[in-house]
Symmetry: none
Subunit: 415 residues, 2 copies
């Protein structure tokens, strides 16, 4: 198996101002491509340190990947550090420089001298086009090894990495299956199904429980264990039934989107404590407009009354966080926005606003279809952010289950 070392570069990283998410993304991909990640090094923008660390990395690994340090400013030194580490020249590529200048003038009206720094290309490097930002990446073949230089912003790094994926694949490529569930606690899931989950010792099992994504079970093995892995995954999927909301790369919002789109149906939301998070996550999906009408973020009770017509009496008697309130919110937002389904959420995200009867984390949900409204109440753990993210996951899961139930009902009625 080939070794890899990942370098994550920037003072903002070693000074703890931002979290490095690139290395997780890259190391997950590298594992599947068949690399053993010897280490990830997070380094400051210092030429001496960078060139020395890269030189050492290259002596130990077949693949070096760097992210960050490709900007136009004086502290962006990755290009120079790699050139220094491998003893190659670095020169400004006239064509790329012209493009950068043209682009700067188009966007800013003028081009500062420093932009051309991003056109500095190491001798023998292949240029990787940046489809999203300005700084191009580079890939260098050196004595049977590879050095890949990528930009720091994840949105620029990720599409560039996808382009070189096939170039990096080794003979030790791995196969993986991911099963995403909601509704069964991790410990119970793993205990009740351990006979299947651990049935082939060579297959690695990993589980991850998260308030944003539920419980994921992941099976990984070599590519010639594909058949066994698929078999185990399929048995588990069948056993867990409706609690499996997606497999592999799909998210819960993808699944809701596809269910609606395939059946030519629409949805809308009424959000209180989530404050637009459900809608925003749904709009992450390109093309969602065919199934998503819109939402009313009824953060104040005033808006719950004026737009969603929740009677003052209901708010006084049951409170804004009650199944009575969300029931009306869901029913009315469905009418107002003219959708087939609607979900309403109202809860106490904290840190203030809790009481003994309704502690922080109490969240009420409603799902409305053409005929009826179903309500649910959960008590969620964690801080404000965790409660809101978990509520968003649950809102999509309630949508998924509600739509599936509706489709079954319609099918049965037809038959």
């Amino acid at each position: 198996m080939k070794n890899a070392v990942i370098f994550s570069i920037g003072n903002e990283l070693v000074e703890g101002l931002i979290i490095d998410t690139n290395s997780k993304y890259i190391s997950e991909k590298l594992k599947l491509l068949g690399y053993y990640v010897l280490r990830i090094e997070t380094l400051p923008d210092r030429l001496d340190i960078l060139s020395e660390r890269i030189r050492i990395g290259l002596s130990e690994a077949e693949l070096i990947i760097t992210t960050g340090g490709l900007g136009p400013t004086e502290d962006d030194l990755t290009r120079e550090a790699v050139a220094l580490a491998i003893g190659r020249n670095i020169e400004i590529d006239k064509k790329i420089a012209d493009e950068l200048i043209e682009r700067a003038i188009k966007y800013y009206g003028k081009s500062p001298e420093s932009v051309v720094k991003q056109a500095m290309i190491i001798e023998g490097a292949k240029v990787l086009n940046n489809s999203v930002g300005t700084a191009p990446g580079q890939i260098i073949d050196i004595e049977g090894k590879k050095i890949v230089i990528l930009p720091g912003p994840p949105a620029e790094m990720m599409p560039m990495f996808e382009i070189i994926l096939e170039d990096l694949r080794t003979d030790d490529a791995m196969y993986t299956r991911r099963i995403k569930t909601i509704g069964i606690p991790e410990a119970i899931l793993m205990d009740e199904h351990k006979d299947v989950i651990y049935s082939v010792p060579e297959i690695t099992v990993a589980t991850m429980a998260s308030y944003e994504r539920g419980v994921e079970v992941r099976f990984t093995g070599s590519i010639n264990q594909k058949e066994d892995i698929d078999k185990i995954a399929n048995i588990l999927i069948e056993r867990l039934g409706d609690n499996v909301y997606a497999t592999d790369d799909d998210t819960i919002e993808d699944v809701v989107y596809k269910l609606l789109k395939d059946n030519n149906l629409t949805i809308s939301f009424a959000e209180s404590c989530t404050g637009g998070m459900i809608s925003s996550k749904f709009v992450d999906i390109p093309g969602v407009s065919s199934v998503f009408k819109g939402a009313i973020v009824a953060y104040s009770n005033e808006v719950k009354k004026s737009i969603l017509s929740v009677p003052e009496d209901v708010l006084n008697r049951y409170g804004a966080v009650s199944e009575e309130c969300v029931k009306i919110m869901a029913k009315n937002v469905k009418e107002i926005l003219n959708s087939d389904f609607a979900v309403a959420v109202s809860g106490i995200a904290g840190p203030e606003g809790g009481s003994e009867a309704k502690p922080v984390g109490t969240v009420c949900f409603a799902f409305a279809n053409k005929n009826s409204v179903k309500t649910f109440t959960y008590t969620l753990r964690g801080n404000r952010e965790m409660v809101r993210k978990r509520s968003t996951l649950l809102a999509f899961d309630i949508s998924r289950r509600g739509i599936l139930e509706w489709l079954k009902l319609v099918k049965n009625t037809r038959e």
Copy 2:
């Protein structure tokens, strides 16, 4: 200044299953305590790699901090690796072992043999009590240097780190200032003001450009450079004027929130392409309900017409992505949700929907106050996510500038 190397240990990290958040937390603290973080190394659970990397780290730095690898299972090897790296014995501490066994019996009814592994203490180490989980930490003084061994789960690591904070403080306590801007591209800002920004060579300058947060310039130096750093920061703040939206820890939504709260004013949003992202970000702030009425996510044209009363004629003649449309959206959402101000956003986030006249990235904004509505059009770069996040930043910035202008107007009228 003393050097530090941080080791983040675990197969789950180098395999990309979880993101390392511990190192950000620790490196941010270390900087303030007066350490220069030479690097952060993320390593697999392998004794040979761990002991070698720790040995090298100790030869280069005065402080080594490890997180992770302190569990009871076979792959938890951090304790052994440190002992091996520094050539000291490691033995089970009888008292700690008894406590661990007692605890396991209390929680699980029995004690697996492996728990005593967590009682392995390196010769000469001071034990750090784990107030949240089981594995104790350790701190070792060796030839004027320190090795700190901490558990991996952030909830266990953080309180333990707080306890040793004072032990780690050096004479080189740091001082830092952060200036957060929007409106001037990074390269131009750094070029036009380099005379000030780089005027004291000993002061470290870092810049971060992000479509979510604009351009941040950060000055850092020793505590006795406080005067110089403040002076440089203040000159830059004055030069950049309204383009500085916040300093230090404040975010742009914090600034909008405080402006509204301090003046007893309210806001609402009409969101199309952002799809609830502006509202959701605002609701991240606890207590925002005093200034935030709510929002209408008018993702479909149907909702723009039915709820926000955008005339069909306007949509046909100018389109949903037009200053004419957002002007009506802002004016009407302000009326409907009964707020003092409103912001409306409509744009083409892509990847579909662009045209020659209005390419992907075209986003129209409107800000409404009691008297008037101002509109803006931007052409934003990047993919769907970047366009939506940048639009959210701009919506808050337009709010900030609009509220400031309104407050000036009111003040002038009064005088």
